[in-house]
C-alpha cells in the first residue's frame, strides 16, 4: 500500500507539469494582458511606460521563457508576486482566503451528507412511495434552479422582507463591539444562506446516487439472507445494505476535495464573501497571471490528491479490493 501511494505521488509531478503548461498557454492566449487591462482606459499612459511595465513583469520575454521562469520558481514553492496593485505574494493572498471558502464548503458538504444519505436510503427502501416521488421532484427542482436566482430570492425573503438574516459578507459592521455569544450568532447567521444555497444544488446528485446505490444493494441475495437470519429490518438496512451502498461515496468524496477549496464564483460574488472563488474571478478579469496560475496549480494538485485518497480509501473500506 505504501509503495502504491509513493508511486501515485511521483506520478503527480509530470501530471502537474502538463496541467500547468496547458493552463499557462491558455491564459496567455486570452485576449489582453495585465498591462492592457490596467492601462487601456488611462489616456495619460505612454507607450514607453507600458513597455517598462511589461519588462518589469517579465512579459517582454517569449512565452516559453516565461513558463520556464515560472516553473523554476514553482520548484522552490515560490508562487510569485501578484500583478495587482497591492503587489503581494500570491501564496499570501490565496492563504488568507482559504479558511473562509473551506469552512463554507465543508459545512455545505456536511449538510448535503446529513440530508442526502437518509433521503436516498428512505427513498430506496420505500421505492415508488409518495415520499419517494415527492423527494425526487424536490431534489430535481433544486438541481434545476439556478444558484444565483435562488440566492437572490432567499435574500429578498429572509434579508429584506423578514429581516431575519444578513444578506452579505461574513460579519456585521459592528462585529467588534458585540459580546461573545452575539459574535457566534453573527457569524452563524451570515453563513446560513450561503451554506444552504450551495448545499441545495448538490443535494440532488448525492441523494439520487445514494438511492440508486441502495436499490442496487437491496436487490442482492445477501440482503434476503440477512432477513432470513431474522435480523430486524433496521439492521438489515443500516448494517448490511447501507454499508455496501456507501462504498461508491468514497469516490465522490475524493472527487469533491478540490471543490472544497475551489469555492464558487457565483455565490461568493452574490453574498460578497471574500473567498477563493471571488479572488480567482478578480484575478482572471485583471489577467493577474501569477495569481491565476497559483490558484490553478493548487486546484490541480488537490484534484490529484483527492483522486488518490479516494482510491486508497476505497481499498481500505472494501475487502474485495484490499487484497489485490
Amino acid at each position: 500500500m505504501l509503495r502504491y501511494i509513493a508511486r501515485r505521488l511521483l506520478l503527480t509531478v509530470p501530471l502537474l507539469i502538463g496541467i500547468s503548461l496547458i493552463s499557462f498557454l491558455v491564459i496567455h492566449a486570452a485576449p489582453g494582458g495585465p498591462v492592457e487591462m490596467a492601462t487601456d482606459l488611462n489616456p495619460k499612459v505612454t507607450a514607453e511606460a507600458r513597455e517598462r511595465l511589461r519588462a518589469y513583469y517579465g512579459l517582454d520575454q517569449p512565452v516559453h521563457v516565461q513558463y520556464a521562469q515560472w516553473l523554476g520558481r514553482m520548484a522552490t514553492l515560490d508562487f510569485g508576486q501578484s500583478f495587482s496593485r497591492d503587489g503581494r505574494q500570491v501564496s499570501e493572498k490565496i492563504g488568507e482566503r482559504i479558511p473562509v471558502t473551506l469552512s463554507i464548503n465543508v459545512l455545505s458538504m456536511l449538510l448535503i451528507f446529513l440530508v442526502a444519505v437518509p433521503l436516498g436510503i428512505y427513498s430506496a427502501v420505500r421505492k415508488d412511495s409518495w415520499f419517494d416521488r415527492i423527494s425526487t421532484v424536490a431534489v430535481f427542482t433544486g438541481f434545476a434552479v439556478p444558484t444565483f436566482w435562488l440566492a437572490l430570492l432567499l435574500m429578498i425573503l429572509f434579508g429584506v422582507k423578514l429581516g431575519w438574516l444578513p444578506i452579505s459578507g461574513l460579519v456585521s459592521l459592528e462585529y467588534d463591539s458585540l459580546g461573545p455569544a452575539a459574535k457566534v450568532w453573527d457569524r452563524t447567521s451570515h453563513l446560513l444562506l450561503p451554506v444552504f444555497v450551495s448545499a441545495f444544488g448538490g443535494l440532488a446528485g448525492f441523494s439520487r446516487y445514494m438511492r440508486s446505490n441502495m436499490l442496487e444493494v437491496i436487490r442482492q441475495d445477501y440482503i434476503a439472507t440477512a432477513r432470513a437470519k431474522g435480523l430486524p429490518e433496521r439492521k438489515v438496512v443500516f448494517r448490511h445494505a447501507m454499508r455496501n451502498a456507501l462504498l461508491p461515496f468514497i469516490t465522490i468524496l475524493g472527487l469533491s476535495v478540490p471543490g472544497l477549496l475551489g469555492g464558487s464564483v457565483i455565490f461568493e460574488s452574490i453574498f460578497a464573501i471574500p473567498g477563493l472563488g471571488q479572488l480567482f474571478y478578480q484575478g482572471v478579469m485583471s489577467r493577474d497571471y501569477p495569481l491565476i496560475m497559483g490558484a490553478l496549480v493548487i486546484g490541480a494538485f488537490l484534484t490529484l490528491i483527492g483522486n488518490m485518497l479516494a482510491d486508497v480509501g476505497y481499498a481500505l473500506a472494501d475487502p474485495r479490493i484490499r487484497t489485490e
Partner: protein, 323 residues
C-alpha cells in the same frame, strides 16, 4: 417439535401477483400471476422437489414458504401454526427455524463481512452464542461443510463458487433450522461441483433431520435429491408424485413431455414429446387449463375448464381432465 402428525410446512392455496407498470404515467392494472393457487405439504425431514421452467413461479413459491415475501392470498402453516400474517418480533423468532440457500453464491454473501460473521450473525441475533464460543462453533460448522477452519477469517471473494456455496450452506444450517428452502443451489456451479454440493446437502439432512424444499429446473438434480416432486407450470402445480413414481411413469402430459427431454442413461429410448409453441405470458394466462395451448392431448374442454389437482393413483396427484 411439530404438533400432531401434520406436515412440517403446509402451503394452502397460495397466490402471489406482481403488478406490471405499463408506463411511467399509467399505473397499470396488469398483473403477473407468479403463483396462482398452489397447495403443497413438506413433511418433516423429507425433501420436496419443485421443478418447472424459468419463470413458472417456483422461486417465488419458495420465498413465500419461509415468509421472505408475503403471499397475496392463502395460508402458510408451519409446525401446525399459521404464520401467514406473522410480523415483527414473532416473525424474526421463527426465522431461525426456516432458512434458505440461494442460487447465486456470489450475491448471497455480504462482500464486506468475514465468513465467521456471515455464519455467526444468526447466533448473535437469536442470542445463541457470541464471542469465543461463536468462533468455536463457526470453525466446527465450516469444517462440517468441507472448508478449513481458517476460512472463518476470510472474506467471501477469496473463495470459488463451490466453496462459497458451502459457506451459504453453513450459514443456512447454523441455526439448526427444521426447513431449508434450497433455491437452485447448484445451478450456478460446474457439474463436478454440483455433485459434491448435492451430496453435502444429503449428508447434512441425514445428520440434522431437516426438511428441504428443493427448487430446481434441472430434472436430474431433482431426481437425485427428492422424496416427492411437484411439477409447476405457469404458477400452478401440474403434478405431485413420489419421485420414484414420477420418473418411472409421469402422469400429467406436461410431466411426460418434460421427462422425455431428459437423456436416459445408456441411451435407452423413450417416447419423445416435443412441445409446440412458447410458454404463454404469465400476464395473460390462457383460460381453462393453462397448459392446453401446448398440450398434445388437448381437447375442446381444456380451453374452457381448469382441471383441479386430484388423486389419480395412490399418493399421486395430477391436474388434467384426461388422466
Amino acid at each position: 417439535m411439530s404438533r400432531g402428525d401434520g406436515p412440517l410446512l403446509s402451503l394452502e392455496n397460495i397466490y402471489k401477483f406482481f403488478p406490471v407498470r405499463k408506463s411511467f404515467f399509467v399505473a397499470g392494472t396488469l398483473r403477473v400471476h407468479a403463483v396462482d393457487g398452489v397447495s403443497i405439504d413438506v413433511p418433516a425431514g423429507k425433501t420436496v422437489g419443485l421443478v418447472g421452467e424459468s419463470g413458472c413461479g417456483k422461486t417465488t413459491l419458495g420465498r413465500m414458504a419461509i415468509r421472505l415475501i408475503p403471499p397475496d392470498a392463502g395460508r402458510v402453516v408451519f409446525e401446525g401454526r399459521d404464520i401467514t400474517t406473522l410480523a415483527g418480533e414473532e416473525l424474526r423468532r421463527i426465522r431461525s427455524k426456516m432458512q434458505i440457500i440461494f442460487q447465486d453464491p456470489y450475491s448471497s454473501l455480504n462482500p464486506r463481512m468475514r465468513v465467521r460473521d456471515i455464519v455467526g450473525e444468526g447466533w448473535r441475533v437469536h442470542g445463541i452464542a457470541r464471542g469465543a464460543e461463536a468462533r468455536e462453533m463457526a470453525w466446527r460448522l465450516l469444517r462440517r461443510v468441507g472448508l478449513s477452519a481458517d476460512a472463518a477469517d476470510k472474506y467471501p471473494h477469496e473463495f470459488s463458487g463451490g466453496q462459497r456455496q458451502r459457506i451459504g450452506i453453513a450459514r443456512a444450517i447454523a441455526l439448526s433450522p427444521r426447513l431449508v428452502v434450497a433455491d437452485e443451489p447448484v445451478s450456478a456451479l460446474d457439474v463436478s461441483v454440483q455433485a459434491q454440493i448435492l451430496n453435502l446437502l444429503r449428508d447434512i439432512q441425514e445428520e440434522y433431520g431437516m426438511a428441504y424444499l428443493f427448487v430446481s429446473h434441472d430434472l436430474r438434480v431433482i431426481r437425485h435429491v427428492s422424496d416427492t416432486v411437484a411439477v409447476m407450470y405457469l404458477g400452478k402445480l401440474m403434478e405431485v408424485s413420489p419421485a420414484e413414481d414420477l420418473f418411472r411413469e409421469p402422469i400429467h402430459p406436461y410431466s411426460r413431455s418434460l421427462l422425455s427431454a431428459v437423456p436416459m442413461p445408456g441411451g435407452a429410448l423413450r417416447e419423445k414429446i416435443v412441445l409446440s409453441g412458447e410458454i404463454p405470458s404469465p400476464i395473460h394466462i390462457p383460460p381453462g387449463c393453462r397448459f392446453h395451448t401446448r398440450c398434445f392431448m388437448a381437447q375442446r374442454m381444456c380451453g374452457e375448464v381448469s382441471p383441479l389437482l386430484r388423486e389419480c393413483a395412490p399418493g399421486r396427484y395430477a391436474a388434467c381432465h384426461f388422466v
